[in-house]
Symmetry: C2
Subunit: 348 residues, 2 copies
């Protein structure tokens, strides 16, 4: 398997990208080539410093970078030699099986959708971001690729999220919920109500590759047995950032409170294993990266402030998405849903 | 001052409503009457148990209750003798200055908007929910009254939130942000971009009673000097519930981890003051209730799972909103914004 890493993408690149690449290569024997795409000079230096000598790590020079604060799609058109652009081109040409980027999300999404196009049966791609849930992993879909989604897009997201949950996370019958402002069936906006009706209809045909559990709310993300939570990309992006910000604020306030007395500092030190365990459960470092589902190629999007561990895990997600054939499964599942049933064929 | 409390509203009513009423009466000498609206028999019994003997506590019988799981607006039309309906009628008739309810939010909003109507210059009411922020209180507006808001509604929300921040929270020039999926000016949906342009325009006229700081994201809720975060009621409701759910999940997971070893339990016990302080900072119990801004009367909405402390604080919020004349200030501010300036008057 060959993976193209946007080695210049992210707040802490290229240091953490090179470190993450080194650690991933140590762990994963099935990676044949890991292309580090970016400024060759900077990357050579970083590789020497990080002692990355594995011959599978290959630098592909890209003279430009899309900055984290630049308008992704616009800058992409201007910077044709940027690391994310060239890394995505490598997937398009078949040189690589997947692209991984913790850089500008807008640029990564635009590069993938423009260069790779969408899978057969898919109108719009969506980012599946993992939320740590008591029963496993709950994916928010879409977490930001398609801010003004149409109801039909969410139906495809439901199918793609279910295929991912089944093939990568090992869930037999994935449970899909629709994010709304209340759990009752009649709650929501015109948009969510239309989506709700389409999901109910699909469920009633017996062709949905998932179980639709109805409207869900914030607490369901963490507590309920749920594999996919559907929403438009605007809402999903805001949910994800709000949850992350809450966890960060709680942790910061707790640290400040500990520092108010030597006893509290001691108590916190004694219980530190618990804090580490919760941090591990809730941190995106362990999740790694979010697949951009629906593009014709594998594209994994990392958090802008990814650490080396996050990069390593984003590479793991890319490996899984490729080797477990998520894209072929998505196309097959969508085709099967639209194929006439035996009864329909007989009546035709 | 006279306050009508929906004594049957909330998951733990009437026990916590009566307890909260008793405690509020002990604290606030400026309450002349506190009407406990609900089933007279149940309330008499509860008052005896809670030793609520203050003569300012007066039962107003209401034979019906809108359940927490019922469709608020629909049920309200059917249950004309429900506690929330009668409590709101008392504000309409002038018997009470404010209504406080921790019951079905949909019913409380519908009762207030239908019976009290909106203030002059206000099209739609919005719920201002407080988020604990490092610099004080940040209000999310709207937190759920108006799920499909129009850009113009958010302009009025900005003004109302600013008036509340100025008059109740003591902020000189309130800072207002627009929730979006990124901080850059060009981020957002058609809806947020239109709202952004209207806010920029209002700011440019010099007539905005606030400073518009642009688009904001999840972390700004907790970290940035911000008094009001604008969004439609669908998004606001989801943000609020997601933040609350994250805090709850973190706290639950931490407790589970502490229990894994006696050392951790001991450490957590030694540091317990820190946990209590963060809980106090982040709990809605201390916030109390959220004003429904824009209705012609004071309506304070409490959390469904309000404790006695939350009810007591919701009554405090009602007192402040009445005595600090939030509604007259909103009407004056909106009128002043639309009044021609001296230059315009001279040119007319």
């Amino acid at each position: 398997m060959k993976i193209a890493l946007d080695a210049m993408g992210g707040d802490n690149a290229p240091h953490v990208t090179v470190l993450g690449a080194r650690n991933a290569l140590k762990l994963y024997a099935d990676i044949d080539k890991l292309f580090l795409v970016g400024d060759a000079h900077a990357l050579e230096k970083e590789m020497a410093e990080c002692k990355l000598t594995d011959p599978r790590a290959v630098i592909t020079h890209a003279p430009e970078v899309v900055g984290m604060d630049e308008s992704g799609a616009k800058t992409l058109r201007r910077k044709k030699k940027s690391s994310i652009s060239i890394a995505t081109d490598m997937v398009k040409s078949g040189e690589a099986d997947a692209v991984v980027s913790a850089g500008n999300t807008g640029a990564a999404v635009a590069a993938a959708t423009v260069k790779l196009r969408t899978l057969k049966g898919v109108d719009r791609a969506g980012i599946a971001s993992a939320i740590p849930n008591e029963h496993g992993i709950c994916q928010i879909l879409d977490a930001g690729a398609n801010p003004e989604a149409k109801p039909q897009h969410l139906i495809t997201y439901a199918v793609m999220g279910a295929v991912y949950a089944k093939n990568v996370l090992g869930v037999d019958v994935p449970r899909v919920g629709l994010m709304s402002n209340g759990e009752e069936d009649e709650k929501g906006t015109t948009f969510t109500k239309e989506t709700f009706a389409l999901l109910k209809h699909l469920q009633s045909t017996g062709r949905a590759p998932f179980e639709f559990v109805g409207n869900v709310e914030g607490h369901d993300l963490f507590e309920s047995k749920l594999d996919v939570v559907l929403c438009d990309g605007f809402t999903g992006n805001i949910i994800l950032k709000s949850c992350e910000a809450t966890a960060k604020a709680m942790s910061k306030w707790l640290k400040l409170e500990f520092k108010r007395s030597p006893f509290r500092i001691m108590g916190a030190a004694i219980a530190r294993g618990a804090f580490k365990a919760v941090k591990k459960k809730s941190s995106y470092e362990y999740v790694g990266g979010s697949p951009l589902l629906g593009v014709n190629g594998v594209c994994i999007i990392g958090h802008g402030s990814s650490s080396a561990l996050a990069i390593q895990n984003a590479i793991r997600v890319a490996r899984e998405t490729v080797s477990l054939k998520v894209n072929p499964h998505i196309e097959e599942t969508l085709a099967a849903m639209h194929r006439p049933s035996e009864d329909e064929a007989a009546n035709a």
